[in-house]
Each structure stands twice: as C-alpha cells, then as structure tokens.
C-alpha cells in the first residue's frame, strides 16, 4: 500500500542502464537527493524520487553525461495534470465538496410519530406552516418556538415534541380528542310528510298518529302530532318521532344524445423535467415547442430512496402535457340505450331508491337523442321531524 503523503505530493520513477548505477547513486549521495525503492531489473536500475529531486537529478545526469532511459510520473499532481482539460471533473469535484459541506447544515428529513387521525402529509403541512420544513438551515431551527406555535395554531395537536438528531427531525405528536357533538333534539315536534304518497305502515312511532294506512298524503301533511289534548289534563307535548312508510312514486328521465363531443388525444405528449433539491426546483429539460391550451397535465415527483433508508430530499419532478381536442362523435342506438340504463341506475343509487314495488320504463328516440323515462313506485320512510315552539 502506497504512502498517501508520497502520493499526494507525487514522485517519478527514473530508469537508467545498470552501467550508470554507481554514478547515479553517487550523485544522489553527494548532492543529498533522497530516493526510495531502488531496484535492479534486466540490466536496468530504477529508483523513485520526489518531483523536485527528479529535476535536480536529471540536471546532474545531463551534466555528467548519464543517459536516463525513462522518467515515469506518479501521484496526485500527475493525475491532476492528465485530467487538466476535463473541466467537468473539476466542476464536479467543487460541487461535490460544496454539497458535502452544506449537506450537514440543512434539515434532510422530518419523521412523524404518533399520528392517528391525521395523515403524515397533514402533520408535515402544519409543521411547515409553523416554520419546520425539509431544507431549512439547522441553525435556524428553534424546537421550543416551533412546538409552541404548533400547539397554539393547530386544533388537532394537543402535544408535540421535536428532537433534532443530526440532520433529521423526529416529531412526536399527540392528537387532541374531539368530543362528538351532541345532537340537540327538539322538545316538541311533529312528524310531517316529506313527499306525496300513500301511507303503508308505521314503525316505532311516538306521538299521536293522525293518518291511517291507505291514506293519500301530500308533502307537508301532518302524520304524527306531538301535541295531545288529554281533555282532563290539558295539552301535553312531546317530540314526535318514528318512521312512517308510504308508497312513493318517483319519476326520472335520462337524455342521451346520439351525437356528442368526444375527447381525443392528439398522440404527441410533451414533458418538462425538474431537479427537486430540498424544496427548490431547477428545470433541466423541456421539449414543449408551443403551449397548447387544451391538455391534460400529469405532475409527478419521484424522490430518491437509497437502500430503503427513506425518501431523500431530492428527486425528479416530471410534468407531462398531453394535448387533446374535442371532436364530434356518434354513438349507435344500442350504445345510447345501454348508456341511458346505466345512468338511470346511477340516479337510483344516488337517491337511495330501494324496496321497489313497481317500475315502468319507456324509451324513444326523439330529436337525435334517446330519452328513457322511469316511473318507480317504492316504499320509503317519508316522516320528517318539524320542531314547534310552544309559547307560555
């Protein structure tokens, strides 16, 4: 293994014919030129001298008529000299040195522990708002101040602890417990009809039922009263509640045009690439010739993850632009019918239509569109609680 100091300052291997060995060694001894690793191989003598010593020895050899066969340079100065035109290497070396110097002075990662309801992203956003984020200088982090800020401004965090370990901030939180809101139930209320329908039944009703099964009621009609005239004790009040089932008719119409605007992608996608470094971005690539207004934008960021050590604060952001245009397209009649039924199903699911007693469907092609009409008779709870105020 070579001495690193010798490599650092560089040296030369001088080779000459063995017949000159005594003269060369005498010159080294007489003039005090230090050498090392002297050896003899195939009638040649070689020895290693420092750069300065080589220059002196060569001068003396020329003066004394000694022919030197070769001078082979070694060491760091020779290495640097041989790469002197590789400016990129020099710039890279400077950048690497700067990065190594700076990397120990910024926050690389924030690790969260203790979150239950809150997502990690929400906690990180809260911390960022209170002054803690990846990429900030370590000497500007005041854990006590940030902790206090988070507890004051965040309703979701009741306790927080921030510990700096090297370039990583370990954050432990305890979320605040939210009590369920008590539903304020009215003291006096009636049940009225939320929709028109034919009364079909009652379930767990409290109050005075004012309708009977088979009655047709309209929206707003009184179904169950919370006020009772007891004739002997006067009026008594209660909050009427329960379920009143009725047969309800719902009508829906779905209109599917045969000609429609279809989104078509133009096939050529453009992209821009950015290097993301501690929150800062530098654009490194773009092939967008002209910006189109109509395009889908897909924005992704991939952070480096080395040896499963977690995400590192640098990565590549790719923004893809996929242009499209709307073109008129035609659908077949079968396609229109299928789509109409599909949309009708979606409407029924959204409205919560179940317990269907009867369903009438009718469809026709009219004016370049397919119209599907649905008349559904179903049984549902139409009772709606309405609070009433009692004065006195």
């Amino acid at each position: 293994m070579q001495n690193p100091i010798i490599f650092l300052f560089g040296y030369n291997t001088i080779t000459a014919d063995l017949s000159y060995a005594a003269k060369i060694l005498n010159l080294c001894g007489f003039y005090g030129i230090p050498y090392r690793n002297q050896s003899c191989n195939n009638d040649k003598i070689s020895l290693e001298c420092s750069l300065f010593g080589t220059a002196r020895l060569l001068r003396l050899c020329r003066k004394n008529g000694i022919d030197v066969i070769s001078v082979t340079p070694h060491g760091l100065p020779h290495l640097i000299f041989s790469y002197r035109r590789r400016y990129g290497l020099l710039i890279g070396l400077i950048l690497a040195t700067a990065l190594v110097f700076l990397s120990g002075r910024v926050l690389w990662d924030v690790r969260i522990d203790g979150e239950v309801r809150l997502s990690e992203k929400e906690v990180i956003d809260e911390l960022r708002a209170c002054g803690l984020y990846v990429g900030m200088p370590l000497d500007k982090i005041d854990a006590d101040v940030i902790q206090n800020r988070v507890m004051i401004y965040s309703d979701d965090v009741s306790w927080i602890s921030i510990n700096l370990s090297g370039t990583v901030a370990h954050v432990e939180i305890r979320e605040s417990t939210k009590l369920p809101e008590e539903e304020k139930s009215p003291s006096v209320a009636n049940l009225v009809a939320a929709k028109d329908g034919k009364i079909a039944g009652f379930e767990e009703v409290r109050g005075d039922i004012t309708v009977k099964i088979g009655d047709f009621v309209r929206e707003g009609d009184l179904l169950v009263s919370g006020i009772r005239d007891s004739k002997t004790l006067g009026f008594t009040y209660t909050a009427a509640e329960g379920k009143v089932f009725a047969e309800v008719v719902d009508e829906y119409e779905v209109d599917i045009p045969l000609e429609y605007e279809k989104k078509e992608y133009l096939g050529n996608a453009y992209c821009e690439k950015y290097i993301v470094f501690f929150g800062k971005e530098i654009k490194i690539y773009s092939n967008i010739k002209k910006k189109t207004e109509s395009c889908d934008i897909i924005d992704t960021v991939e952070y480096a993850n080395v040896l499963s050590l977690g995400e590192l604060p640098f990565g590549i952001r790719t923004v893809r632009y996929i242009p499209y245009e709307f073109k008129t397209a035609k659908r077949s009649e079968n396609e229109a019918i299928d789509l109409a039924f599909y949309k009708l199903r979606l409407i029924e699911e959204e409205k919560g239509i179940c317990d269907i007693l009867k369903k009438e469907l009718s469809g026709e092609f009219l004016g370049g569109a397919y119209k599907l009409r649905s008349k559904t008779t179903s049984q549902k709870n139409i009772a709606r609680q309405v609070e009433i105020e009692i004065n006195g």
């Binding site: 060995a21 060694l25 005498n26 080294c28 001894g29 050896s39 003899c40 003598i45």
Partner: protein
C-alpha cells in the same frame, strides 16, 4: 594523514587510539561499518560507490575499498556520508593497505 610507523608496526594514530582508548571512527577519516545479519550493511563515513551491480558492490573508503558480494544487492539509502546496502550478503572484504 600520512602515518608514521613505530618499531612494532603500529601507526601513530593506532598508538593514540590505544593509549587514549578512542574509537577509530571518531578520528578524521574514520569509518563505521555495521553489519546486521546477512541482510544489511551500513557504512558511515566518507564513502563512494566504485562499482554497482546486483551481485557485487565496491565502495571506496578513503584509500581502502570495501567489496560486498551477494545476491540482489541494493543501495537502499545513500545520503551524505552514509550508505546502506541491503540484500543477501555472501562476502565482505577489505582491500588496500594503510598499515
């Protein structure tokens, strides 16, 4: 220094050395030779290489010569007045007459 010899054949320098018990190498022109096993010889004093080869090295020590015969002989260090020879030494001999 031209040495005068007495009747016993000793030079004046040798007589002074013996009387005052001074090491010969301490006087001007003196040479100290140290042999370490069969691998190394160190010569301290005014010395010059007369002949060098991997099998034979001849050193000039003033008016005398020191011949070292061996195998894979190297001059591992040579600065100022000191020289160190390394290798496998068969024979070390002195030539020249100063007595």
């Amino acid at each position: 220094m031209k040495q005068k010899k007495n009747e016993t054949g000793q030079s004046l320098v040798e007589k002074i050395n013996k009387t005052l018990d001074i090491s010969p190498e301490a006087l001007p022109g003196g040479t100290l030779i140290s042999i370490s096993g069969r691998q190394s010889i160190k010569v301290e004093g005014r010395v010059k290489i007369l002949l060098y080869s991997p099998d034979k090295i001849v050193l000039a020590l003033g008016k005398e010569t020191l011949t070292v015969i061996g195998k894979r002989l190297l001059c591992s260090a040579y600065h100022g007045k000191d020289i160190t020879l390394e290798g496998y030494i068969y024979l070390v001999s002195f030539e020249g007459d100063t007595v």
